[in-house]
């Protein structure tokens, strides 16, 4: 356990006014959620969502912090966090490109878009490029099947995409490929 966590964990039972004992005030937001949920153990998944919203990803320190706050075995928290696809354990890239791979999008060629971006930027689906500029993700179904194939770029939902249009989109934000 790193020093940050040790300090953060102490903070659970020993709250001070002002700065969070961990030295990172983002933990305050987790504390607030924990308190609202009365530290109920079934709040684990919600708490992990909040933590990921705040920190962008779930580091080991955060998982331990949550485990101790909810009085759950660390291995169990780790098991729960890794069970669900939406939790991520690495810092996300600067830009996020999510390709919907639901059935309608599949029928309309979503696979090619994933392959196209993956090859062009040398980033496997579900991972972040080495320079940290782009995270390529796939989604099960975004429920916008009427617009298939659908791509979400930095939060914006775009329908009727193809490999070229998606690559243009990515290039505009991340820069072109050499």
């Amino acid at each position: 356990m790193s020093d940050t966590t040790t300090r953060a964990v102490v903070g659970v039972s020993d709250r001070q006014q002002g700065e969070h004992p961990s030295g990172d005030n983002r933990f305050d937001l987790i504390d607030k959620h924990l308190k609202r949920g009365r530290y109920a153990q079934d709040q684990l998944i919600e708490t992990l969502h909040v933590a990921q919203d705040v920190f962008g990803y779930l580091s080991e320190d955060i998982l331990i912090y949550v485990a101790r706050a909810l009085r759950l075995p660390p291995s169990m928290v780790y098991g729960v966090a890794t069970f669900y696809q939406l939790f991520t354990f690495d810092p996300p890239g600067d830009h996020a490109c999510t390709v919907c791979t639901g059935t309608a999008c599949f029928v309309k060629g979503a696979d090619d878009i994933v392959k196209g971006v993956s090859n062009a930027y040398d980033v496997p689906a579900g991972e972040t490029s080495e320079d940290g500029s782009l995270t390529l993700k796939t989604a099960r179904c975004l429920g916008s099947c009427g617009l298939a194939p659908v791509v979400v770029f930095d939060g914006e939902v775009l329908g009727h995409q193809n490999t070229e249009s998606t690559l243009e989109l990515v290039a505009a934000a991340v820069g072109g490929v050499d």
């Binding site: 919600e46 059935t103 099960r140 179904c141 429920g143 916008s144 099947c145 659908v150 775009l158 329908g159």
Partner: protein, 543 residues
């Protein structure tokens, strides 16, 4: 404690509001239209109304899904006490032109007109989606004005819980999540269960790729779901309810959270609902990306904050569910049918659809089809009517090859069965299932073994890993399908694949595993020649 909402007063007030302006502009603000640019369209109209001082003439109402997602953004011009004109593909500029033209010249704008006399609209029967394109989902008053919460009031003030269950039983309503279990029976089981605490859970973990009816209900008519939950809880003696929503639906979560708060403030939830002795707390619980959590026992594990692995049954949730207490899980669409049934009676509901599959079903029509979007049709409507008439057929001069229903748990139905009525039994006989209602049309360019592989990959990725046949069997099936679709498969591979279909179907612990082979089984049944064409005659050629 604040006084409960006076439903009739709200209705009157809303009616007045409705007649306040000569024109009402209803703009579809559901997710599909929003991603087609509805946000900018609505903003443009609102800005224009303000800038050009048309507030006394026009009111702009963002609504839920109007259905024809492929033609979005959709907009409707409504004249006071008069006709409605629908528009499609409404860009911000078009919207401004349309509003001006109607308000100033009483003239429609031909380029963007949407023909509402086409079968897509006329062949539908909207019960669950009745409020789509009608109400503003953000305003409880809008829901109440269209008859909302009347059913709850009726149930609480004039019906005993047993009578409510009886009404549901008479309606013949069956679970809309897939298997089609009779809802009345399920409610009776929970009502009969002992114990102080009982739970009702709305299953909004709509994971089938291609299905988004539950999301639409949660986003566009959240109070209808809440009302259904409240009636279910009253009928079964539950005092705590959860709505389990997948995290991929942030808008639904936000809308439901707000709707719950508003309902509580209006004494439609919380303690002593509508001043009766019935109390109910409702809470939203969020998934985190796991298809298997649509399975009842996995869903409960997830609500409890654990890994979403299915548990052995028996004991069934109605005996031992959340935290060991009796629990009943109903799908969102199922619960959305409850208020209309209580409102208009079980017999009315049973008169729609077929004898064994009553009521309507919402389908998400997608794939190689002209009209994509959400449709609601009476049970028993033929696939042909859905695909050719409502859906407008297959585009680009291609021909229909198969319709996929039930997602990764369902199957592919070939053209020769297009006249099959869509109901629980007929679809099962064809080796598919109703599922939650995704209906993907595939044209003759689609290779069916590829489709089977696509779904197997899905099931493999979504397997929780608890039981051997599903965890390891889906991997091997995917492996075999990969080899076959790559053109490297052998006759023995095909044999192994078929055997694994039985093993995984019969030996898996939960519904996900048991139904994972369905896409393979049904494509093998109807499109076997496509597999045969791909495989090598040799027995063994792996190296």
């Amino acid at each position: 404690m604040a006084a409960p909402i006076d439903l009739h007063e709200v209705m009157d007030r809303e009616r007045e509001e409705r007649f306040r302006t000569r024109w009402r502009v209803k703009a579809c603000a559901s997710t599909a239209c929003m991603s087609a640019g509805a946000g900018a369209t609505i903003q443009a109209v609102e800005d224009m109304v303000e800038r050009e001082d048309m507030e006394l003439e026009v009111q702009v109402i963002p609504t839920g899904c109007m259905g024809l997602c492929s033609a979005g953004p959709l907009m409707r011009m409504m004249r006071r006490g008069g006709d409605e004109t629908d528009y499609q593909k409404v860009t911000p500029d078009a919207a401004k032109e349309i509003v001006r033209s109607h308000v100033l010249n009483e003239e429609p704008v031909p380029e963007h007109l949407l023909d509402t006399t086409m079968p897509f609209f006329t062949s539908q029967e909207r019960v669950v989606l009745a409020n789509g394109g009608v109400i503003n989902p953000d305003r409880i008053e809008s829901y109440v004005a269209h008859g909302g919460y009347q059913a709850l009031e009726k149930a609480l003030t004039s019906m005993k819980p047993k009578q409510v269950i009886e009404e549901i039983r008479r309606s013949g309503l069956r679970g809309r999540g897939g298997a089609g279990y009779p809802v009345g029976s399920k409610w009776s089981l929970l009502a009969a269960a002992g114990g102080k605490t009982k739970y009702v859970v709305a299953n909004g973990d709509e994971g089938d790729p291609g299905a988004y009816m539950d999301r639409t209900i949660m986003e566009d008519d959240p109070h209808r779901l809440i009302e259904g939950i409240a009636i279910a809880a009253y009928a079964t003696g539950a005092d705590q309810a959860y709505i389990y929503v997948r995290a991929e639906y942030p808008r639904a979560i936000e809308r439901l959270d707000r709707a719950i708060r508003v309902a509580r403030r209006n004494r439609l939830l919380g303690r002593k609902i509508l001043d009766t002795n019935f109390s109910l707390a409702v809470e939203v619980r969020i998934g985190a990306g796991a298809f298997v959590c649509g399975e009842e026992t996995a869903l409960m594990a997830s609500i409890e904050g654990r890994r979403g692995t299915p548990q052995l049954r028996p004991p069934y949730p109605t005996e031992k569910g959340l935290w060991g207490a009796p629990t009943m899980i109903n799908n969102v669409e199922t619960l959305a049918n409850v208020a209309p049934i209580i409102d208009r009676g079980g017999d009315w509901f049973a008169s729609i659809g077929t004898e064994k599959s009553t009521g309507t079903k919402v389908f998400a029509l997608a794939g190689d089809i002209v009209n994509t979007g959400l449709i609601e049709v009476p049970m028993g409507t033929s696939l042909r009517e859905i695909v050719e008439e409502i859906g407008g057929g297959v585009p680009d001069g291609r021909s229909f090859k198969a319709a996929q229903t039930g997602g990764p748990s369902g199957g592919c139905i070939p053209a020769k069965f297009l006249d099959t009525p869509v109901d629980y039994e007929s679809l099962r006989e064809l080796g598919s299932i109703m599922g939650s209602g995704g209906l993907i049309v595939m044209d003759d360019e689609v290779r069916m073994p590829d489709v089977a592989k696509f779904f197997m990959e899905f099931s493999m990725d979504e397997s929780c890993g608890k039981c051997t046949p599903c965890r390891a069997g889906t991997v091997q099936m995917h492996n075999l399908l990969q080899r076959i679709t790559d053109g490297n498969g052998t006759r023995r591979d095909l044999r192994d694949l078929e055997h694994l279909c039985s093993v995984v179907r019969d030996m898996s612990l939960c519904g996900l595993g048991q139904s994972a082979p369905n896409p393979v089984i049904s494509t093998l049944q109807y499109f076997r020649s496509e597999y045969e064409a791909l495989i090598d005659e040799e027995e063994v050629v792996h190296a």
